[in-house]
C-alpha cells in the first residue's frame, strides 16, 4: 500500500476491526478473546508506561506493551482498553488471564517488536492515541 492510498484509507474510513484481523496483521496468538468479536478500535497505544495508559488511552484502545504485569491489565481496563498485545512475552501470569476474562478484554501475544506491531496497525488505518 503506497502513502497516497494509505492516507486515503485513513481519511475515508472509521477504523473498525475484528479481533481476527488484528491477529492476522500482527501475527499474534490469542490468549484471551473478547466475547464480542467486533471491536470498534479508536487508537493504538504503544508504551510500557502505565502513566501514559491512564493519561492517553481512550475507550476502545489497543495497548501494545512489553510490560506483562497484573497492574498493566488493571490500568488498561480502567482506561478503557479492550485489547492488550504483549510483545517479547513467553509466559503470562495466570492472574492476567483470569482478570482479562472477567472484564471481557482480549489478550494477544506477538513475536513482533512493539514498534513493528504498532507500525503495521498504523498502516491499516489505526491512529496513535498520543
Amino acid at each position: 500500500m503506497n502513502l497516497r492510498s494509505s492516507l486515503s484509507l485513513r481519511l475515508s474510513q472509521q477504523p473498525v476491526m475484528t479481533l481476527e484481523e488484528i491477529v492476522d496483521i500482527i501475527e499474534a496468538e490469542k490468549i484471551v478473546e473478547n466475547v464480542n468479536p467486533f471491536i470498534n478500535i479508536k487508537c493504538t497505544l504503544c508504551t510500557d508506561l502505565m502513566s501514559e495508559v491512564l493519561y492517553f488511552a481512550k475507550s476502545g484502545s489497543i495497548l501494545i506493551t512489553t510490560l506483562a504485569t497484573p497492574y498493566t491489565v488493571r490500568a488498561a481496563h480502567v482506561a478503557g482498553v479492550k485489547v492488550i498485545v504483549f510483545t517479547y512475552t513467553k509466559e503470562l501470569d495466570n492472574e492476567i488471564i483470569v482478570f482479562a476474562r472477567s472484564k471481557d478484554m482480549s489478550i494477544l501475544v506477538t513475536p513482533l517488536t512493539t514498534s513493528t506491531a504498532c507500525e503495521r496497525l498504523w498502516q491499516r488505518g489505526l491512529e496513535s492515541c498520543f
Binding site: S51, Y55, S59
Partner: protein, 142 residues
C-alpha cells in the same frame, strides 16, 4: 436530598502486587449503582493515579468515596513524605520517583495532572514530613 453512598479502602505503600485493585473495586461499586460509564471511567482513572501515588511514595493511606448531591467525591489521604512544591508537582512530566519505579511503568510525572484532568474539582493539601491529601469531585448528571 439524594441518598448517600460511601465507602473506604486501605492502601499500603510498596504494594505493587495489588496496584490498582482498589480502583477496580471502586469502579465495580460505581457500576453497580448505575452511574454513567464516562463518569465511572474518569473517577476510576483519578482514583488509580491517587492509589499509585500512595503505593509509590507513602507508607500507607486511605481512599474514601461518597456519592451525595449528584457528585462523586474521592478523597485520598496518605502518610507520606509530603510535597515541597505543589505547583511544580502539578507540572506534566515532573517526577521525583526513583528509576526503579519508572522501570515498573510508573512515575512519569503524569499522576497529579491526570487527577486534575479527570476531576471537575480538584484540591491538594500537603505537609512535608506528614503527608498529602487529594480531593477529587466528579459531577453527576442524573
Amino acid at each position: 436530598m439524594q441518598k448517600l453512598v460511601e465507602g473506604s479502602f486501605h492502601l499500603f505503600g510498596g504494594d505493587f502486587d495489588n496496584a490498582g485493585s482498589v480502583s477496580i473495586e471502586l469502579k465495580s461499586q460505581l457500576a453497580n449503582i448505575g452511574i454513567d460509564k464516562d463518569k465511572i471511567r474518569r473517577a476510576a482513572i483519578a482514583a488509580f493515579e491517587a492509589e499509585m501515588n500512595v503505593i509509590i511514595y507513602a507508607i500507607a493511606g486511605i481512599l474514601t468515596f461518597e456519592i451525595k448531591d449528584e457528585k462523586i467525591k474521592i478523597t485520598v489521604r496518605d502518610m507520606g513524605p509530603g510535597i515541597e512544591d505543589i505547583d511544580l508537582a502539578m507540572t506534566e512530566g515532573y517526577s521525583t520517583s526513583p528509576e526503579w519505579v519508572r522501570e515498573m511503568g510508573w512515575g512519569a510525572g503524569m499522576g497529579l495532572p491526570n487527577m486534575k484532568k479527570n476531576a471537575d474539582e480538584f484540591k491538594i493539601d500537603s505537609v512535608v514530613g506528614e503527608g498529602t491529601t487529594v480531593e477529587m469531585v466528579i459531577n453527576l448528571d442524573f
